[in-house]
Symmetry: C2
Subunit: 323 residues, 2 copies
C-alpha cells in the first residue's frame, strides 16, 4: 500500500528526508537543532525562490526528483550570479496530505543530486514541513564570497564584452513541447511520455524540467574580474535590459551568436549566467555582444531596436490550471 | 475599487513591498540584485519556518499585519534560541491572485514591525512572489553568532537550573478561545470580533495571532553561559523532552512555577526560550525546574511521570479547513 504524507508525523518525514541528505562542508551544526550553523570565509550571499504547483510546475510533467533538482538549481544560480560559492540550502515544503511519501523522498534525492553535481560541498542544512492543499517548495540558498566582493548587475561598462555561460533558449523550447504535445483539448496537462519525442525534444524537455546551470562558473567569472553578472531566469533580452538599466548603459546582443536566436533571445529558464568582462573571457563563457554608451534603448539586438517582450513574467504569464 | 494581486506584475508588487521595508544593518547589498549580501561578525545561523493557510492560520482570524508579524517572530525565535542575533529575513510569498494588494502591504508592515520591535537592525533583504491557490508565507531567518559558539539543545547538565523567558501557555489559551468562540456549528472559522472578549481573552488571542518572543534574551542567555537552549514551539513538556533526550538527562519541571500549569505545560506557540544554566540566571529568565541525572523519563513534572502529550504536532493535530 502506498504510504501517504498525511499518515506520518512531521518528525517522521523529516527524518526520512534527512537520511537522504549529505552533510554540507560549511556546516558547524546541521539539521536537528533550532537552526543550522555555518562557518563562512567571507560575506554571506542569500536568496530565495519558490516552485508552486500550477504556476511553476505540473505534476503531470515533473517527477519528485525533477522538482527537487530544479528547486535547488534555480536557487544555486542566483548565488553563482553574485560570484559566490553555494554552501547550503534551506527547504520549506508545503505538501498535500494525499501525496505519497516516496514523492517527498524523491524530492530530497533531487535536491541532493543538484547540490552534488552543480555545487559540491553544498547541501540541505535545514527544513520545514507543512501540510497544504498546494504543493509548494520554497528554497533559500546561501553562499560564501570567500573574501571577494559581490559581482552586481550594475557594473557593466561601455566597451565590455557581453558573455554567457550555459545553455540559452533550450528550456523554453522544452516548455513549448510540453504545452504542444502534453495537454488535452482543454489545455490541461496530461502525463509526459518521453518515448514519443525525438532526441532533441527530449533534451529540451529535460532542460526545462531539470535545468543544469553552470554554477561553478559564477566563481570563475568573479575571479576573472567580471564587471557585472546575473542569471537569465525570465528571458535573455528582458534580463539584459535589467542589467543595462542598473548599469546605465546599452547592451547590444549579436543574434548570430546563437543557433536558434528566437528561442535564445526570449528564453529564460536555463538559468545561464550573463556577465560582462573588460578583459579576456574565462573558460566556459562565450561572447554574445558588447556594452555600449547609454542610448535610447537599454538593449539592442544586432544594433537595432528589439520589439518583442524579451522574456516573460512567470507571475503574470502562466495560467494556474492543475495537472 | 479593490486592487487585486492578479492585476499587478511581480515586480510591481515587490516594489510596493520593498518600499515598506527598512534596510538591514548587516546588508552590504539589499534587495534588487540576484541575491542579498550580508557582512557578519561570526558564524551564520539559518532557519526556515512556513505559515500555510489552513494548518497554520485562518484569514477569518488573522490580519495581513498579524501574518507578517507572526511569520517573522517564529523564525526570529529559532535564531535567538541558538544564542545568535537575527540579521536578516528572506520571505517567499505564494498568494492567491484574488487577494487584495493591501493585504500583502500589511504583511510587509507586519514583517517590518516584528523586526523593529523584536530584533532591531534585522530586516527583509530578499523575497520571492508566486501565485498560488493557497496563501503561504515561507520565511528564512539568518543570524550572527558574533564570535560566540552556538547554544545547542544538547548541552544541559545534571545540576543545571531549567529556566524560561517570555510568556508560556498564553497563546494556546488564545487558540482555544478562537476555536470555542469563532467557529460556526460545522467548525469553520468565522470572523474574529475582539470586542466581545474579556480583556484577558483579548490578550491571549493577540498572543496567538501576534506572538512576541523575547528575542533579545537569546543573546543574553548565551552571554550568561546557557548550557542548552531552544524555543518552545510545540509544547513545553514536548520540547523539554527533545532537549532532555539530546542532552542525555532528565528535566524536572516544577508546575508551581506557573499560574496556569495545565496551559503552560502543553502550550507552545508563545515561542518562549527554554534554557539551562549552571550559574545565576540572566535577567528576563525565571527558574521552572532543574536538570537531573538521566532516569526512566526524559521529563518529569514535580518529580512524577507526566502522561499527557505535552504539546502538539502542528503538522498532525490541526485540521485544514478553510476560513
Amino acid at each position: 500500500m502506498t504510504e501517504l504524507i498525511g499518515e506520518l508525523s512531521e518528525s517522521d518525514i523529516l527524518r526520512r528526508i534527512l537520511a537522504r541528505t549529505p552533510e554540507a562542508t560549511a556546516a558547524v551544526v546541521g539539521p536537528g537543532d533550532d537552526a543550522a550553523v555555518l562557518a563562512l570565509r567571507g560575506d554571506l550571499v542569500a536568496t530565495t525562490d519558490t516552485l508552486v504547483h500550477g504556476p511553476d510546475f505540473r505534476l503531470a510533467w515533473s517527477s519528485g526528483f525533477d522538482l527537487g533538482y530544479k528547486a535547488a538549481a534555480v536557487n544555486l544560480a542566483d548565488i553563482a550570479a553574485m560570484g559566490a560559492r553555494p554552501t547550503a540550502l534551506l527547504v520549506a515544503l508545503a505538501i498535500p496530505a494525499s501525496l505519497p511519501v516516496t514523492m517527498v523522498e524523491e524530492m530530497a534525492d533531487g535536491l541532493a543530486a543538484a547540490c552534488a553535481q552543480l555545487a559540491p560541498g553544498c547541501a540541505v542544512v535545514g527544513g520545514d514541513l507543512t501540510v497544504s492543499a498546494t504543493l509548494t517548495i520554497a528554497v533559500t540558498a546561501l553562499g560564501d564570497l570567500e573574501g571577494r566582493g559581490p559581482v552586481l548587475r550594475s557594473g557593466a561598462m561601455p566597451g565590455d564584452t557581453v558573455a554567457i555561460a550555459g545553455a540559452q533558449g533550450v528550456a523554453t523550447r522544452g516548455l513549448s513541447t510540453l504545452f504542444r504535445r502534453f495537454t488535452d483539448d482543454a489545455g490541461v496537462p496530461i502525463t509526459l511520455d518521453l518515448d514519443v519525442l525525438t532526441e532533441s525534444e527530449r533534451r529540451e524537455v529535460r532542460a526545462q524540467l531539470r535545468p543544469e546551470p553552470p554554477i561553478a562558473l559564477g566563481v570563475a567569472a568573479a575571479q576573472a574580474g567580471a564587471s557585472a553578472m546575473m542569471d537569465v531566469s525570465d528571458g535573455l533580452v528582458l534580463d539584459a535590459r535589467r542589467m543595462a538599466r542598473a548599469s546605465g548603459v546599452t547592451i547590444d546582443i549579436n543574434s548570430q551568436a546563437f543557433d536558434n536566436a528566437a528561442a535564445a533571445l526570449e528564453g529564460g529558464e536555463d538559468h545561464s549566467l550573463l556577465a560582462t568582462f573588460s578583459g579576456p573571457l574565462p573558460q566556459g563563457f562565450r561572447a554574445i555582444g558588447r556594452v555600449l554608451d547609454p542610448g535610447a534603448e537599454a538593449v539592442t539586438v544586432d544594433e537595432a531596436r528589439y520589439d518583442l517582450p524579451g522574456g516573460w513574467d512567470p507571475y503574470r504569464d502562466w495560467d494556474a490550471q492543475a495537472g
